[in-house]
């Protein structure tokens, strides 16, 4: 990129299984007001446009950015909504700034998973002609992906369980996470079966929360903060839709999205260049799969790589020092939260979960079942 885009502020709610005290607009306002306060910016004058990320069907309102127009500063101004994972909002926001149309943009993702039934919501994401009537949801689809991946590469449930153990231990250090603890692999294996090989602790819990983030052009960023975090590279990619069309053990879309992001960032060898990663571990095994797709280890090596301790806090390449999505981050917010956590790391503001000497971080998000659409963001300080 000839011009640079910076992330100049982030805010996240304290995630919780249920927030009965706020509607989604008020929940969004919590993070919007905080990120404005932290950056010293004010609406409407200092922000050129706003991008929100949520889904009507999760929100229970048609054109659901209606419910956040007031709090995001959209009144009489530019406001867009995208219905994908929040990581893609960073892509969209960065493009707006690079186009020269905007110099400072407010991004926000929110979801209250507690207000509805995730399986019913997710079932509607399957094509209505051939698949939806069979009652699939993201968990049953993920179980098919998990088994295929395990079968092809000899990954075990223990390998996946180690991700849960690591991430929930990391989450103890993250004041925003709500699910954490000192678990053993045996605890994960013996949690109730949901859709084998997936058991309860392999699956990210229902969570309410929001994340906000402010992007700025280089010129604006220098005035706003002395700790800008730069978007070095960013890429997205769609895979095919139907479950049977995809190589479920593969990482076609993620590899392409990552290749695009790395090329833009000038990264030739991610294993050498990247200091930490925040990936969207909606399910335990997905962290292993995504590590491979991001090129941090060879195909099929995700389990061994994790077992080696490389991805632990203090390891060679800490992955999800925040505790990841398994520690409780809502759908759609997950990817923006990954970016926000990576920003905190690069700013040295990650508290007890800080990775020492972090200069380059990768954040990954996906939308659609089994990660059909992938987005990779490479950040640097």
């Amino acid at each position: 990129m000839t011009e640079r885009v910076a992330i100049v502020g982030v805010a996240q709610t304290r995630f919780a299984p249920k927030r009965p005290d706020v509607n989604y607009g008020e929940m969004a306002y919590e993070v919007i007001s905080r990120v404005l306060q932290d950056t010293g910016l004010a609406l409407p004058d200092d922000i050129d446009n706003a991008i929100s990320c949520s889904h009507d069907i999760w929100d229970g309102q048609t054109i659901s950015d209606i419910g956040i127009t007031d709090v995001i500063g959209g009144h009489l101004r530019a406001e867009e909504k995208m219905a994908m994972d929040g990581s893609t909002a960073v892509f969209y926001g960065a493009v707006g700034i690079l186009s020269g149309e905007y110099s400072c943009s407010l991004l926000m993702a929110h979801t209250k998973m507690s207000q509805t039934n995730r399986n019913i919501v997710n079932n509607v994401a399957f094509d209505p002609i051939y698949t939806r009537m069979l009652g699939f949801d993201y968990t049953s689809a993920a179980a098919l992906q998990a088994r295929r991946y395990m079968y092809k590469y000899g990954i075990t449930r223990e390998d996946a369980a180690r991700v849960v153990v690591k991430n929930l231990a990391n989450a103890k250090r993250n004041p925003f996470a709500w699910q954490s603890g000192d678990l053993t692999v045996a605890d994960v294996l013996s949690s109730p079966a949901v859709a084998p090989p997936l058991h309860k602790l392999d699956i990210a819990p229902d969570t309410d929360g929001a994340v906000a983030l402010i992007l700025a052009s280089e010129e604006r960023a220098r005035k706003i903060t002395d700790k800008p975090v730069w978007i070095l590279g960013i890429g997205t990619c769609y895979d095919a839709h139907y479950l049977g069309d995809r190589d479920l053990s593969g990482v076609f879309a993620l590899e392409k999205a990552a290749a695009r992001a790395y090329a833009m960032a000038g990264i030739k060898n991610p294993r050498r260049s990247v200091d930490l990663a925040e990936v969207s571990d909606d399910f335990s095994y997905q962290e292993l799969l995504w590590l491979e797709g991001l090129g941090f280890c060879d195909r099929g090596e995700g389990g061994r790589y994790t077992a080696s301790g490389a991805t632990a806090l203090g390891g060679k390449l800490p992955v999800n020092p925040s505790g990841g999505v398994l520690s409780g981050v809502p759908a759609n917010v997950a990817g923006l939260n990954r970016v926000a956590e990576a920003v905190l790391q690069l700013r040295g503001e990650a508290g007890d979960r800080q990775v020492r000497g972090a200069n380059i971080a990768v954040a990954q998000g996906h939308s659609g079942f089994c990660g059909q659409h992938q987005c990779v963001v490479v950040l640097g300080n």
Binding site: H55, I63, G67, L76, A78, E80, A83, Y238, F369, H373
Partner: protein, 389 residues
């Protein structure tokens, strides 16, 4: 914007109340193929795909994911935008930003709705806040009815004036082979159509259509080398509006409202003061007849309270000095996710001189389009024939 952006191709499906012969990916694919053909391009040349669609209208979550094959998005970068009725125009703006950013040279944007598949009535009532008004949802008809009654009371317009808009739209649509409601109707027909909510009658409202529109946007170098008739996107602007205060229907309001705020900014970007002279054709998003009259005023084509005089004098007819919606507009074709994009594409066709039977007779060098949706939102786009226009 940092780079000039041009529309180098586009296409649309035939729009109709029923499209039983296609599923959603097939319908979208028709528009995508038409756009590629128009741009003399293959899908392999496209760098990124943007979809605009409202997920609830067809009752499908993540429509972009299902439609990947129809859109030609497999292995490509892409995103999906959902901003209500404006979404087609938002997708065009987003595509323009992607090109202007320098990261992409050729971007495909798509807007579609297959309204017959979903439960549009139930889903539209879901626009209301679940705790405030959903149980009372007066639907869009009630809102535009109050706009009409307010307009008549404020300026002395008559029901005949809305009927004139209804007739103009459907008569124009008869010249547009892609339009949905091609009705050979008279003022009397419009005035005698079924009353829905006084003063809104059946023919004062837009239909529920199935259809798709796709456009390909490119950077200046690509546009000049690949297209004989690139149409340039000169400026865009977006204004949303707060959730609960919908002052558009209060025609004498002193508040700055979305339509005037957006037009004001757009005109400042272009450095213009007389839009009626500056632009040669307008494609506005008019979900109801009265809204078109108010667009005339909010866009500054006439003074406040003079909109109904423009239609009365035929000034906005296809052969008038200020042609508005020669395509037949949203009153003739409303496939929600595509409607706002169709405004831009129809305006581009006018500039290219490719609008066929609904080509306005005068020389068209510049066009203005508006979208409409949400709780009174708009996205406006200004187009031109050359970069010197």
């Amino acid at each position: 914007m940092k780079r000039n952006v041009a529309i180098i191709g586009g296409g649309q499906t035939y729009h109709a109340a029923r499209r039983h012969d296609v599923d959603e990916p097939e319908m979208v694919n028709e528009a995508v193929r038409a756009a590629l053909k128009d741009a003399r391009m293959t899908i392999d040349e496209i760098d990124l795909v943007i979809l605009g669609n409202m997920e609830f209208f067809e009752g499908t979550h993540m429509t972009d994911c299902w439609l990947v094959h129809g859109m030609g998005a497999y292995g490509k970068q892409g995103l999906k935008i959902t901003t209500g009725g404006t979404v087609g125009a938002t997708a065009v703006c987003a595509a323009a930003h992607h090109v202007a950013s320098g990261l992409f040279d050729k971007v495909l944007c798509i807007g579609f709705e297959k309204q017959e598949e979903g439960d549009t009535g139930a889903i539209l009532s879901g626009v209301a806040n679940p705790l405030w008004g959903r149980s009372m949802a007066g639907a869009a008809v009630g809102y535009f009815a109050m706009m009409g009654s307010s307009y008549m009371a404020a300026w002395g317009a008559k029901e005949e004036h809305s009927a004139m808009v209804a007739v103009k739209a459907r008569q124009n649509a008869r010249r547009n082979k892609y339009a949905h409601l091609k009705l050979d109707i008279t003022i009397e027909d419009a005035l005698n159509s079924r009353m829905l909510a006084w003063p809104i009658r059946m023919l004062d409202m837009c239909p529920a259509s199935n259809g798709a529109c796709a456009m390909i946007l490119a950077d200046e170098k690509t546009a000049k080398s690949r297209s004989k008739k690139p149409v340039w996107i000169r400026a865009t602007d977006t204004a949303h509006n707060e959730q609960f205060e919908l002052d558009w229907r209060d025609v004498k309001t002193n508040r700055l409202i979305f339509s005037r705020a957006c037009a004001g900014r757009l005109y400042r970007k272009l450095g213009i003061t007389d839009p009626a002279k500056y632009f040669d054709v307008f494609e506005v998003y008019e979900p109801a007849t009265w809204a078109e009259l108010i667009w005339y005023e909010d866009l500054g084509l006439c003074g406040p309270g003079e909109g109904f005089r423009l239609i009365e004098q035929g000034r906005t007819n296809i052969d008038g000095p200020i042609p508005v919606n020669p395509s037949g507009g949203v009153l003739s074709t409303n496939c929600i996710g595509a409607s706002a994009m169709l405004r831009v594409w129809e305006a581009a066709l006018q500039i290219r001189g490719d609008a066929g039977e609904h080509q306005v007779p005068k020389d068209v060098r510049r066009a203005l389009t508006t979208g409409y949706g949400g709780t009174n939102w708009t996205v406006m786009t200004a187009l031109s024939k050359t970069l010197d226009d």
